[in-house]
Subunit: 362 residues, 2 copies
């Protein structure tokens, strides 16, 4: 009997909602996202959706400048009581490379606070490589919602408007994340090959820990140049994570690593600096050249870190062996973790990072 | 001292290999993959890279016919002693939707037998939406290798040539998988949103268990039509897995499910038939309409299965609650599992399927 009523309720509910969809939905109003709260940015600079103002740093390499225009790690924090949320946005005309989804590269994903955590709510899937409009989520219960919309990880966001029911309201929310922890890194930090922007590991770290992990991943270009060291060292950070080792050559590691760490240290005598060994190693399962280069990078970076640790008790190393698992199924292409690889990586680095931060009262 | 020699060896090895790359590599010869062994196909039919010959089944829906041309689950099995493997291939001009990578949609991935298992070796990443050439893996040790190259999951493979060192040889290998287990399903079965073809869950099941899981996933079109039931029921299968429930409406489940199972049963009185509840449920976290439809599908499919199980002791149901985890991070878009979701799903369905098969001496 209970089953009968349960079934009747479900049928009525499903049909009722389907009926509503068939009927005219209330009209939508769009709000320029620049009127809301931007999180995940290290500088309070223009252009709004660039991670940094490259004009302020003329000496940094051209590739870093180009990649700094990608909105990796940036998110819009807002509140609304709308029952649906849409996006209308434009990016550059670039298209994803083979190892990324369009949603991750030039789309967005939305999370809503419920039960004291961020829960996935929907994606804005791109319809073209320039401008798109998408319904992210609909048919939600009425009531206030605190939302976080992660922006494209690999493209330049040129404009973004967020759509809600015309009868609803939208307003900026507080930045939900405390402290500032900069992650300087490679394509892996920037978000390749997470399947949606919010699954890039710095974004997952922020949502899961409540800390403001700032994504300064530069695809293929996290090479520790002195000009980049000079740029990131003066920032008001509570901790630095250096996950850049996939990009420099072994010789560049020897030439640049100690300078990067010394430069940060000059501005921050006591903040934790956490180095992560290169996780880009599965391409070396059969490719002996890749395996040898990775081994040499490990050797040089371990050696440099060991030398520096003799003078610096706030410098840490997270080793990468087994960080993506042992079955070689944790990457998209032997280099870039897929969502499985990122999940495995987080199971090790999240407690390691939290343990280090707790020693500093962060 | 040991460290010094170790370092010297690594430097020499890395430089030596780099030197080799700088030098002229031996030329490459290409072999038409149709001369090698094709696995994962239910019919021994033409066209070679189509999953079935749609001309032989004029009554099946147009969308199923179109999707049957996609090479999901097909793989080329071969042996070679080459130190590198390349691919030169053409697909249709279609481009991936936002929830898939190019590698999964129209690219390939290679696995090589080592230590008694299939180990990831490299990807063929598409350079265009039509024809591409890619080095999948290079700088391998010499010696014989048994290889398995998974074909594009969402595109039609028009041609494929496999490249090896001109001094090496290539030959067909045996089909490495035993028995035949058909998985009839939706986009999720077809491979969305695995990051590379071999991470689609039927392909992982084959590699990990040694059984020949045959991918008959039809994106959005696994709707259990009587014409499809008539097509798949007479096949010489040792087991059937029905993972199609994401696609039919609740009413279609009521109208078609028992016919599908009865039709298979007429040809196979005693083979196990395993139904998987719809895993496409995370879009319903906030979307109440999706949640209600999924609940109704569960209710109807459970009810149908229960009724059928009273007469059929070889019919099984795998429930989907929690199959992708409980954090809502296991999909790309709330519907399609990402590699993390597929991994979690496999942790439950792999032992469940193996346990059922073992009861049948399969």
């Amino acid at each position: 009997m209970i089953q009968f009523w349960c079934r009747l309720f479900l049928v009525c509910f499903a049909l009722g909602l389907t009926g509503k969809v068939g009927a005219q939905q209330p009209s939508v109003i769009f709000t320029d996202a620049r009127r809301l709260t931007l999180t995940g940015k290290a500088w309070n600079s223009q252009p709004f959706y660039h991670r940094l103002d490259t004009a302020a740093y003329p000496a940094i390499p051209a590739n870093v400048k180009r990649l700094a225009t990608n909105s990796a790690g940036l998110a819009i924090s807002f509140k609304t009581n709308s029952t649906r949320i849409l996006a209308r946005w434009c990016t550059s005309s670039h298209a994803p490379s083979g190892n990324m989804t369009g949603i991750a590269y030039e789309g967005m994903d939305l999370y809503i606070q419920r039960d004291n955590r961020w829960q996935y709510a929907g994606v804005a899937s791109p319809k073209s490589h320039t401008c798109s409009e998408a319904t992210i989520v609909e048919h939600m219960a009425s009531g206030d919602k605190t939302c976080l919309l992660f922006l494209p990880t690999y493209d330049e966001t040129l404009s973004l408007e967020i759509g809600i029911d015309s009868s609803a309201s939208i307003s900026p929310a507080d930045n939900p994340f405390k402290k500032n922890i900069l992650i300087y890194g490679s394509s892996i930090t920037q978000g390749a090959s997470a399947s949606r922007p919010g699954l890039a590991y710095p974004a997952r770290l922020s949502r899961e820990t409540g800390y403001n992990f700032i994504n300064l991943g530069f695809s293929g270009s996290g090479k520790m140049e002195p000009e980049v060291a000079d740029m990131i060292a003066p920032l008001a950070m509570d901790a630095y994570i250096l996950d850049c080792l996939p990009n420099p050559s072994p010789a560049e590691i020897l030439a640049r690593m100690s300078n990067l760490i010394h430069t940060i240290r000059r501005f921050h005598p006591q903040v934790p600096i956490i180095v992560i060994q290169t996780v880009a190693r599965e391409k070396g399962t059969f490719d002996q050249q890749v395996a040898a280069v990775v081994a040499l990078k490990d050797l040089y970076s371990n050696q440099e870190i060991k030398k520096l640790q003799e003078q610096d008790k706030h410098l840490y190393l997270i080793r990468a062996d087994g960080l993506l698992g042992h079955d070689q199924e944790g990457t998209t292409d032997g280099i870039h973790p897929n969502d499985l690889g990122f999940d495995r990586m987080l199971q090790t680095i999240r407690p390691a990072i939290l343990s280090i931060l707790s020693r500093y009262g962060i």
